[in-house]
């Protein structure tokens, strides 16, 4: 479904990614893991077109994204739940959800999708007329995920959804991601919470200083010597 082929990405003169490649197949739950500054966000931003690779390319559903403007990737079915949530703070919960369903296909199902999201996150229903900026951290993350789901995406990319949340909420978020995946939505998850992610994903990539250093099934990486030492502290 998604193929990232040997991309090099720069910020001005400074290189952030070196020959990064990864594949996500339909229905998979793929995790991209790594320490702070490894290049995870850069990778997601390049997939959604906010950044352009200097070398290599990205294909989605067989189509080369090199010349697709960033705003069109949503229409193609990629929902990107960005780092730090990036909600529209002065819009209500409901308006934020509506903003997630602008492309034509998603717009047709707007009402239906909203009901679905309100059953997934009952808290959001209670707060639907409240401004997003006034929500708690956990509620904001739920809203960010909900806004992504409003697209009825083929691929849902999540950038550190557990960041800054209380431990019980972290469990909650991982449960919901699992549930979304089981409903048939392909997931590409970026996380620093390596333990949790490896436990729930089907496949994982480890990114270190802008390079993919390891890849494999989640369960296999859990028992990998290097992963255990560097990320799990065992």
């Amino acid at each position: 479904m998604l193929r990232v082929n040997n991309i090099d990405v720069y910020y001005g003169e400074v290189q952030a990614l070196w020959e990064v490649s990864l594949q996500v197949s339909e229905g998979e739950y793929v995790a991209l893991l790594g320490a702070n500054g490894a290049g995870k966000t850069t990778t997601l931003n390049t997939i959604s077109g906010l950044l352009r690779p200097k070398k290599g390319n990205i294909e989605f559903l067989g189509q080369d994204l090199s010349h697709v403007p960033a705003y069109k990737t949503a229409e193609m079915g990629i929902a990107h739940v960005p780092e730090a949530r990036r909600l529209f703070p002065e819009m209500t919960v409901e308006e934020n959800l509506i903003m997630g369903s602008l492309p034509k296909r998603a717009k047709e199902k707007r009402k239906e999708s909203m009901d679905w999201i309100f059953t997934l996150f009952p808290r959001l229903k209670e707060r639907r007329h409240q401004e997003a900026g006034t929500l708690s951290g956990g509620e904001q993350q739920m809203l960010a995920i909900g806004r992504g789901l409003m697209l009825r995406p083929k691929l849902l990319m999540l950038d550190e959804p557990s960041l800054g949340l209380a431990p019980f909420l972290v469990d909650e978020v991982f449960k919901i991601i699992k549930k979304i995946n089981e409903e048939g939505i392909t997931i590409l998850l970026v996380e620093q919470n390596v333990m949790h992610a490896l436990n729930s994903c089907t496949k994982a990539y480890i990114l270190e200083s802008g390079r993919i250093t390891l890849q494999g099934r989640g369960k296999d990486l859990l028992s990998n010597e290097h992963v255990r030492e560097a990320y799990l502290g065992i």
Partner: protein, 291 residues
């Protein structure tokens, strides 16, 4: 006492038109993060279009709004697309310089009008010019009242547009978080063009509504840049509702200044209010609605 009410109503009515003009500037500021210093010149162009419509074709100023608004919408879109957005594409040019560009646009528009119409004052004389009606013993100017009502209708229509349509919501989203808006599928480049067009159309509407009340000349735009800027800051930058209250406040303040202090000092009163609000309410009126 009737002088007091007279002053209040007069200020309120004029303030409504100021608000409409300032909301246009606020919209552009929200999305582009720049002060559009050509805004007053756009008001002025709107006034000249109205003048021409009346003078050459006998079109009533209030009907001319249907000509001046689309014309300025189109002009605004062109300015954004072929001038400001071109500058944004250049990495070597600082974003602050977009403001300088708007000064350049202001000069071009002002001098073009001077070339065509000369520097002298113009005005239109309609059947309702100078007419008024009475509430008790307070006389209310009919053209001012009509202009106020139309300005409020447009303000309300804009509010509905911004909150109930996908394009309107996309404009607000782009103002609040441009990158997130792109991820939602918003073509933010197009949104900047539409927003500049819309802001210009509102400037034009304000200009047209002033024609039955005011006289016009090429440099009149400068006064409206200053007023719009004050109102935008008073309202809390980027807030439409804030700009509405800011506009009414400025109109009333100017009116009281003119009546009770002196005609020459009415603009000073506006600045004094501006400074007081900045001192005691740095976020503008918008911060009053926030807990």
């Amino acid at each position: 006492m009737s002088l007091f009410w007279q002053t209040l109503i007069c200020g309120l009515l004029l303030g409504g038109v100021y608000a409409l003009i300032a909301i246009g500037m606020t919209l552009i500021m929200g999305v582009m993060k720049i002060i559009n210093l050509a805004h007053g010149a756009l008001v002025m162009i709107g006034m000249y279009i109205t003048y021409v419509c009346f003078h050459y074709w006998g079109i009533d100023p209030y009907i001319a709004i249907f000509i001046s608004m689309p014309a300025l919408f189109f002009l605004g879109c062109l300015i954004q697309k072929y001038s400001i957005n071109v500058l944004i594409g250049k990495e070597s040019i600082l974003p602050e310089n977009q403001v300088l560009l708007t000064v350049g646009i202001m000069l071009v528009l002002t001098e073009t009008m001077r070339l065509i119409f000369g520097s002298d004052y113009k005005s239109v004389h309609t059947s309702y010019t100078g007419t008024s009606f009475f509430i008790g013993d307070v006389s209310v100017s009919i053209p001012m009242a009509i202009s106020f009502v139309i300005a409020m209708v447009f303000t309300y229509a804009l509010h509905i547009f911004l909150t109930k349509t996908d394009i309107g919501r996309s404009i607000r989203a782009t103002a609040q978080d441009k990158e997130a808006a792109i991820l939602m599928g918003v073509n933010t480049n197009k949104i900047t063009i539409v927003t500049f067009g819309l802001g210009s159309a509102l400037a034009a509407a304000g200009g047209t509504l002033l024609v039955p009340i005011y006289y016009l000349f090429p440099d009149i735009g400068h006064a409206f840049v200053a007023k719009s800027f004050i109102i935008t800051i008073l309202g809390g930058m980027g807030s439409t509702m804030g700009a509405l209250f800011g506009g009414l406040t400025l109109g009333i303040a100017e009116s009281f200044g003119a009546t009770y202090i002196s005609m020459e000092l009415k603009d000073v009163v506006g600045f004094v209010i501006f400074i007081i609000v900045l001192l005691f309410l740095p976020g503008g009126f918008k911060s009053l609605t926030k807990r």
